[in-house]
């Protein structure tokens, strides 16, 4: 027994320095990986500000694209297009997502609910370019033309599963005794759900919706062959429509410096839009939002 203890002590002293160094070294590596990710974010963000901000001015914000060779011009049509398509997508996507979330949280037991939950998760992981393909076959082809409606549909399709799962998670946090209290007062269940359960988590649901909007506002791939692009100002949803992400893409891969600069400026606007939505929700509706995220 004493021999073992001696052995342990010898080994411990011999190896302890090495173990401690190893632990320190790995802690250093872990910190380094965190630093690497953080600096990549700062680099992307920094470049967008550095290259984009100087070119953002009233002309850029409020005028239409000019042909190659002419200076000036802006992305007004793209801003408007993105806003319009995100709005149209939200009109369908938000209620659909929330009601699905309500179903999953309030009635969601058994196999069918599992299927719905699973489908939502799968839908959320379908590549957005495939969503675009699907909408092309579903809407663009029968309608014989690219249109803002098709673009909005693909954005809605991306929003639905995100909102549904978020709503479900939030509603599940509402304590059961609140529902029972409502039911015990003789309030019908559907009113309990709408008036007590949904209203109680309105903040969190809003957060989820805003995050979903932020996500689709930056989507490019599903718009490439649904809404296509449009060099002119168009407010007719049955016609092709410009959008900010597609415009950034087009200008980024074009061989003209002027366009490249505008791509950066557009990127700046898009990043600000997305970040304001992200940060805004975080600070505006803090209690529920943070409670569920961490």
């Amino acid at each position: 027994m004493s021999s073992l203890r001696g052995q342990i002590r010898d080994f411990t002293h011999l190896r302890y320095k090495r173990r401690k160094l190893l632990s320190l070294f790995i802690s250093f590596l872990l910190s380094l990986s965190a630093l690497a990710a953080a600096s990549c974010l700062i680099s992307v963000f920094g470049y967008v500000i550095w290259k984009g901000l100087p070119h953002v001015n009233l002309d850029f914000l409020l005028s239409l694209p000019k042909p190659v060779g002419e200076t000036g011009g802006g992305m007004f049509n793209a801003f408007l297009g993105t806003l319009l398509m995100v709005f149209l997508g939200s009109v369908v996507g938000i209620p659909w997502g929330i009601l699905t979330g309500v179903y999953l949280s309030e009635y969601g037991r058994g196999k069918f609910a599992f299927l719905v939950r699973f489908s939502a998760d799968m839908l959320a992981s379908v590549p957005s370019i495939v969503v675009g393909l699907f909408i092309y076959v579903l809407i663009v082809k029968p309608m014989r033309g690219f249109s803002a409606l098709a673009g909005a549909a693909s954005l809605a399709l991306i929003m639905i599963p995100i909102i549904a799962r978020n709503t479900e998670e939030l509603l599940k946090l509402v304590p059961n005794h609140l529902r029972e209290a409502g039911l015990a007062l003789g309030i019908p269940r559907w009113k309990v759900i709408l008036r007590i359960v949904l209203r109680g988590s309105l903040g969190g649901i809003t957060t989820g919706v805003m995050l979903a909007i932020a996500r689709v506002a930056g989507e490019t791939a599903p718009l490439l062959f649904t809404a296509l692009n449009n060099r002119f100002l168009n407010l007719n949803p049955t016609q092709p429509m410009a959008s900010l992400p597609v415009q950034i893409y087009t200008y980024a891969i074009a061989p003209f410096d002027e366009w490249n600069q505008q791509a950066w400026a557009g990127a700046f606007v898009l990043v600000i839009f997305v970040f304001v939505l992200n940060l805004g929700t975080r600070w505006l509706v803090k209690p529920t939002a943070l409670g569920t995220r961490d």
Binding site: S33, A34, A37, L115, S125, P127
Partner: protein
């Protein structure tokens, strides 16, 4: 549904309830239930019809060459109307695997740093920054890739790697900048948030007692992480990796912008290539022949099936792991 969704709708309701719950109320309840259920069903229908519509759209390509020869033919040439998906499958696989090789260790490192190592305040900041990484739209990554990453790789990193490791086919020159390597790098940046946040979830589900057991035995911090955290989250980390892979396989814009868009199979990582998603993004809007459209749809269908399989496996794995850990707790 075994348990009735409408508890008031059973036989032995009290007199009090019968007075309160008039028929129309019960009817309204039932209507509400069926509305939400129908809408939820529509979501399932969307997923199913997505598969069916894509299948239908790609039927011409399937009939003309068959799936097996489609994915094993190595020429993709719209001009000659020859459509073999091997180069784009290859491009997708290599860029995704490359991104995993870079992103997986980094993400686990970040997750360990935030959950196990850093003081709460710093951990929260890093966690927030990584979450922001997920919020940046793909096209912005592409823009950054085209004007920042690719020039840097072309001027500095790739020439250096070629001079040191050029004897190895993977690192053969010339340094184009655009290509598999750049795509892999950008992809890794985009999947880090996915892998690290899922890993953090998995780690957080491990009971405190596990960590204290290791510390009480005289483990150093790293030994504690290895013994209590990593050892028991292998399945969860694998699930996180698969979810990351699912994202990488389908990611489109950033890849399209930096991969060089040439459907070819070349050993060098520095050579331009094409992925399944980027070939659709590049060619679909301009494709005119039916076979071309159908072949692109078939590529989309394959992408759909592959990401479906990866993500569902990953989902089930992560679900099972976090649930069983919660039970232990």
């Amino acid at each position: 549904m075994k348990s009735s969704p409408l508890p008031m709708n059973n036989q032995n309701t009290s007199v009090f309830e019968k007075i309160i719950l008039r028929k129309d109320v019960r009817f309204a309840d039932r209507v509400f239930f069926w509305i939400t259920r129908l809408i939820a069903l529509l979501l399932v229908g969307l997923l199913v019809s997505m598969g069916l519509f894509l299948l239908n759209a790609s039927s011409l390509a399937i009939r003309s060459s068959g799936i097996v020869s489609f994915v094993s033919t190595s020429v993709w040439d719209p001009v000659k109307e020859v459509y073999g998906a091997l180069p784009v499958v290859y491009g997708t696989l290599v860029s995704s695997v490359l991104s995993l090789i870079i992103a997986f260790p980094l993400s686990i490192g970040i997750a360990l740093f935030v959950n196990e190592l850093a003081p709460a305040a710093i951990g929260r900041i890093v966690g927030f920054l990584v979450e922001m990484l997920a919020a940046i739209p793909s096209v912005i990554y592409g823009l950054w890739g085209v004007f920042v990453l690719v020039p840097f790789l072309r001027e500095y990193l790739q020439p250096w790697l070629i001079s040191k490791l050029g004897f190895f086919p993977l690192f053969e020159g010339p340094a184009y900048g655009v290509g598999l390597f750049s795509a892999g790098l950008i992809l890794s940046l985009m999947i880090i948030p996915t892998i690290s946040s899922i890993s953090r979830e998995v780690f957080a589900a491990i009971p405190r007692g596990q960590r204290e057991a290791a510390l009480a035995l005289g483990a150093t911090r790293w030994e504690m992480m290895k013994l209590s955290v990593l050892e028991s989250s292998k399945a969860g980390m694998f699930g996180a990796m698969m979810l990351g892979l699912g994202r990488a396989l389908g990611e489109t814009m950033a890849v399209t912008m930096v991969i060089g868009n040439r459907a070819q199979i070349v050993a060098s990582l520095f050579a331009p290539a094409q992925t399944m998603s980027s070939v659709i993004a590049n060619e679909y809007a301009e494709a005119t022949s039916d076979l071309h459209l159908s072949s692109l749809a078939l590529v989309g269908l394959i992408l759909f099936v592959v990401t479906f399989v990866t993500s569902s496996l990953a989902r089930l794995l992560v679900w099972r792991v976090t649930r069983s850990q919660r039970k232990l707790k």
